[in-house]
């Protein structure tokens, strides 16, 4: 059955339900408003007498209160005449039945079609139901590409493709996809910032003019775009304009809701920026990481698997600060993490403060953790104070 067949059934059930009560109306109860108010008036009088017995009202006031109850009831009974009442039981006119039979499908289907996704949801459902488990990134990309073949004018899908390629580490394809999305939606600030970030990543984390221009455009469209302000702050830091960076990040912080996890990241980098601006950063930080790998693990993994050893911030987004990646067959037992291994020039190990050291064996060597990866991590350490650390992968 197609989706619209189900909708038809739902409309039919709704129509039958309504018409059933049109032909067999619910009986109104026998209580009328006057009767209700009279009964309540009597109850109030009886409660007043109880109050008198319990000494909750004085005798002289009791008489007044009794009189007031009578006056209130009289007023209510006079008001009842002017209210709405439906004493007559007439058959429901045919035009009402026609109205119900027309309005149920018309209102529902017109509203649904206005709101419904513009893409073929049944196809998406079929595709997703074929996936017994969440797909891999490669499978997702294949699905997105297929989708774009049908609808190449969907900028959101181009954008998602760009992001997926970025996650996969294929920056060239990511840039192509973002370029397509940008051509279709040049006024989407979120897209502009994502595109700019990818350009920066593809240029060894340098703020090339094209990226700067995109960030500028994003901020012109939405001066409070947190992501754009964050990147502008990074640009300011790369130009050693720390005060400007602080100002931009504070603005970004102000525009984020309290529940946003990005707040912590911003608060941390703002705190670190305070430290950097108040002290001379040392470039001599180095952490020697020794990794013991159990025999069981060694035997279960290919020698071509990657061992990734990295330091990540203890708080906020767990983006690697400094990373070393070697194949298992080439691993000598330890690596040294220093500022030269930094992922971002503006966030070095020596400036990182609290970090966690992670060792992970991965078949793909991708940044994103996968199901069969084996990982261990250290406790939180101060990057400037700890020079050696041992990890054990079992």
């Amino acid at each position: 059955m197609t989706m619209y067949t189900y909708f038809g059934l739902m409309i039919a059930v709704s129509a039958i339900w309504t018409l059933w009560f049109v032909y067999r109306p619910l009986k109104a109860n026998k209580v009328n408003l006057e009767g209700s108010n009279i009964a309540l008036g009597k109850q109030k009088r009886s409660e007043l007498e109880q109050d008198l017995e319990q000494g909750l009202i004085d005798k002289s006031e009791f008489d007044k209160a009794k009189e007031e109850i009578t006056q209130t009831l009289a007023l209510e009974l006079s008001q009842a005449d002017g209210g709405l009442s439906t004493s007559s039981k007439q058959n429901i006119p045919y035009w009402i039945i026609v109205l119900v039979l027309i309005s149920l499908p018309v209102i529902s289907l017109v509203t649904y079609n206005y709101l419904a996704p513009k893409h073929d949801v049944e196809k998406v459902d079929r595709h997703s139901s074929q996936q017994s488990a969440p797909s891999s990134l490669e499978q997702s990309i294949a699905s997105i590409v297929q989708r774009l073949a049908d609808n190449p004018g969907d900028s959101e899908t181009w954008r998602v493709l760009g992001f997926a390629y970025f996650e996969l580490g294929n920056l060239e394809e990511s840039l192509n996809a973002y370029e397509q999305a940008y051509k279709l939606s040049p006024k989407d600030p979120e897209l502009l910032v994502e595109y700019a970030s990818t350009i920066i990543s593809a240029n060894d984390n340098k703020f090339v003019p094209q990226a700067v221009e995109l960030i500028k455009q994003a901020l012109e469209i939405n001066p409070d775009a947190a992501d754009a302000l964050y990147l502008s702050g990074m640009l300011a830091v790369s130009m050693k304009d720390f005060d400007l960076a602080k100002g931009l990040w504070r603005r970004a912080l102000a525009s984020l809701p309290d529940s946003s996890p990005d707040r912590k990241t911003l608060e941390n980098i703002l705190a670190e920026l305070e430290v950097i601006t108040n002290t001379t950063p040392t470039s001599s930080t180095s952490i020697t990481v020794s990794v013991d790998i159990s025999e069981q693990v060694r035997n279960s993994r290919s020698k071509d698997d990657y061992l990734m050893i990295y330091a990540k911030a203890a708080k906020g987004i767990p983006m690697p600060i400094a990373i070393q990646k070697v194949k298992l067959k080439d691993f000598s037992g330890k690596v040294v993490l220093t500022d030269t291994n930094s992922v971002m020039s503006s966030n070095k190990l020596s400036q990182a403060g609290d970090v966690i050291i992670v060792a992970r064996i991965s078949s793909s060597g991708l940044a994103k953790k996968e199901n069969n990866d084996i990982e261990t991590s250290s406790q939180i350490i101060k990057s400037s104070k700890i020079s050696k650390i041992n990890l054990y992968l079992k």
Partner: protein
């Protein structure tokens, strides 16, 4: 396919809501009772389709259907099943769907349990509730649609905010919404009465139990929120005067005034203007609170700019609800004539004073909450209004309210005298003075002394009135028992809140493994920290042994978690008891194997929530009173 069925079910619910308003209205105009009697079936149809939509969305979360944008944004495969279910209302769109479901649930309850209400009146009330439902369903479908689809299925969803991955937050929003939405019922009763021009005893009588139940849920929802904040945020606080908290507290204060005002209006036909305005403002504030919290305005005044459609809809809806109902009030105000008189010292005056104080307290919270937002949105600068303002303004307003509250039940209706009151309470006040005298010698803290005096004042008066009523063999209805219980709850709350604030000890200390610290006669031994990991987070688990008078009383294991999203979370370890809590939260690692720890000693903190639960139970008891089962002859 299933998702679209849910989506279509929500659209059908809107269609039913529209018919629920239009058809019976035509029936009223044409005096056709059969047509008016369609109100209930159409409401039930609306409820059924919203329930289907809700179940479909819940299913989408449980089966990780990331083709639904809302699911992909708020859940992932690693999320435990309980939190996948609670994630349905974890963000804006789903919480509005829950709102709509609860609103129709209340409406269905009204339709089923109002057999003593004339059918015409009941149908009219249900039409008003249908109108509110239309507003919400339109908002839901056109600006906050939880069934919005993605054109492909992402490999994985995002993470539900770790703060929401907790049992407390799974139950707190539904309870709070039950209270918020419940205030729609007295509002609908009032509006129906204003439209019909019949502001009579029927309206007052039958809206009262619904107001009490709504108030009970609202109280319980706020208590749950406070309890959650205490154990989940890692600061050991139970109330922060945070704008989001205030958004729920303002309707609570007004609803408190409403349940009292209703009692006078119903029994003595006085305060009708008050009651109407309180019912309107109670629901308006709950709408304002829901929208402020869920639209993000409270955390960022720029949310309107970020989503102009949503912001505009909110403004229009609020203007229609508040403006429309106030216009109706102005139109019908002359109908609320009352020749009932009462003297300066009477039960009516006592309740009036309490109402005025409660409204003044609400206005102080309103000012402190919205004024900074107004300044910010007008670009006039940022100001921060916090606990010092609220403590200085709110607390002094509430002290006289509490004093009057205890004596109020002894006052006579219409007229009383100081001589009579002091005569019957002479012994009570001597006992109170003696107990206060002892307290003065035992308590060295001015605030605790004041709280103890208020506690004694409330408790003694509550016990005396209960015993008096029992001995005089007077009516001991559920309403009376509920009142006494709720008033005792206030006393318990005041003492708990003040003692924990004044005598609580909070230590931020550095501890090395094996080190011992003594706080308030409790000995804490730090045994170290271990790594651990769960399916969607990893972190550190500390171990602290706690001894009292040489005996080990508990092992506390506070946690520090790092979730997949990178958001860190502190999970405090608590040893609870009736008299005190021991609370340990893990701070940061320091040099060598030392860690910073937050160790709190919180005396009587459980009394805060116990007080809230007593209040909530009191209102529930009162709503079951026999007088609400009055048989009306036709």
């Amino acid at each position: 396919m299933l998702v679209e069925i849910g989506h279509f079910a929500l659209v059908l619910a809107l269609t039913f809501a529209v018919l629920q308003v239009i058809l019976p209205t035509i029936g009223f105009i044409n005096h056709n009772s059969n047509l008016v009697q369609l109100t209930k079936p159409l409401l039930w149809g609306q409820f059924f389709w919203i329930f289907v939509a809700f179940a479909v969305l819940m299913n989408a979360f449980l089966v990780d259907d990331f083709t639904v944008k809302y699911v992909a944004n708020n859940s992932n495969t690693e999320l435990p099943i309980l939190f996948k279910a609670s994630a349905v209302w974890g963000a804006h769109e789903g919480s509005l769907l829950l709102w709509a479901l609860i609103l129709t649930s209340w409406s269905v309850a009204v339709s089923l349990f109002s057999k003593r209400l004339p059918s015409d009146v009941l149908n009219h009330v249900l039409i008003i509730l249908g109108l509110i439902s239309i507003g919400f369903l339109l908002f839901l479908l056109f600006t906050s649609n939880p069934f919005e689809r993605l054109s492909f299925m992402p490999a994985q969803g995002r993470e539900l905010n770790p703060l929401l991955q907790d049992f407390g937050l799974a139950v707190h929003p539904p309870m709070l919404y039950m209270g918020y939405v419940g205030l729609a019922v007295p509002f609908a009763f009032v509006l129906s009465s204003l439209i019909r021009g019949q502001l009579d005893s029927t309206w007052l009588r039958w809206s009262r139990p619904w107001s009490l139940i709504a108030w009970a849920f609202l109280t319980f929802g706020i208590v749950l929120g406070s309890w959650w904040a205490y154990y989940e945020l890692g600061w050991g606080g139970w109330w922060f005067w945070d704008p989001v908290e205030n958004a729920s507290f303002m309707p609570w204060l007004i609803a408190t005034a409403l349940v009292h005002s209703l009692s006078v209006s119903e029994k003595r036909s006085a305060f009708k203007h008050w009651t109407v305005l309180l019912a309107i403002s109670g629901f308006s504030l709950s709408l304002l609170g829901t929208f402020l919290v869920r639209s993000g305005i409270l955390t960022s005044v720029h949310s309107f700019a970020a989503d102009p459609a949503r912001g505009l809809f909110i403004l229009v809806f609020l203007v229609i609800v508040i403006g429309g109902s106030l216009s109706l009030y102005a139109w019908r105000a002359t109908l609320m004539k009352s020749s009932n008189t009462f003297s300066l010292l009477s039960r009516e005056s006592g309740l009036l004073v309490n109402n005025i104080l409660l409204v003044a307290a609400m206005l102080s919270v309103f000012l402190g909450t919205l004024y900074p937002l107004l300044l910010d949105s007008l670009g006039l600068g940022k100001i921060s209004v916090g606990a010092p303002y609220f403590d200085a303004v709110f607390v002094p307003i509430m002290i006289p309210a509490v004093i009057v509250m205890a004596v109020g039940p002894f006052l006579r209706w219409k007229k009383d005298t100081v001589v009579r009151i002091s005569g019957i309470l002479k012994v009570t006040w001597i006992v109170v003075i003696m107990m206060i005298g002892v307290s003065v010698f035992l308590i060295d803290n001015l605030f605790v002394l004041l709280a103890t005096i208020l506690f004694i004042w409330i408790m003694v008066h509550s016990i005396v009135i209960f015993v008096q009523r029992y001995l005089s063999k007077g009516a001991m209805g559920w309403s009376f028992i509920g009142m006494v219980l709720a008033h005792i709850g206030i006393g318990v709350f005041i003492l708990g809140a003040t003692v924990t604030t004044q005598y609580g000890v909070e230590k931020d200390i550095k501890m090395e493994v094996g080190e011992t610290r003594e706080i308030e006669n409790y000995k804490f031994i730090f045994k170290g920290v271990n790594n651990f990991s769960e399916h969607n987070y990893q972190g550190f688990k500390g171990h602290v042994e706690v001894y009292f008078k040489g005996d080990k009383i508990t092992d506390l294991k506070p946690e520090k978690r790092n979730y997949v999203s990178g958001m860190p979370m502190t999970e405090a370890a608590i040893d609870p008891s009736f008299y005190r809590d021991i609370y340990v939260a893990l701070g940061e690692p320091l040099e060598k194997d030392a860690w910073s720890l937050r160790i709190y000693y919180k005396p009587l903190i459980r009394w805060i929530w116990l007080g809230g639960i007593l209040m909530s139970l009191g209102a529930l008891f009162a709503s079951f009173d026999r007088r609400y089962r009055l048989r009306v002859k036709s």
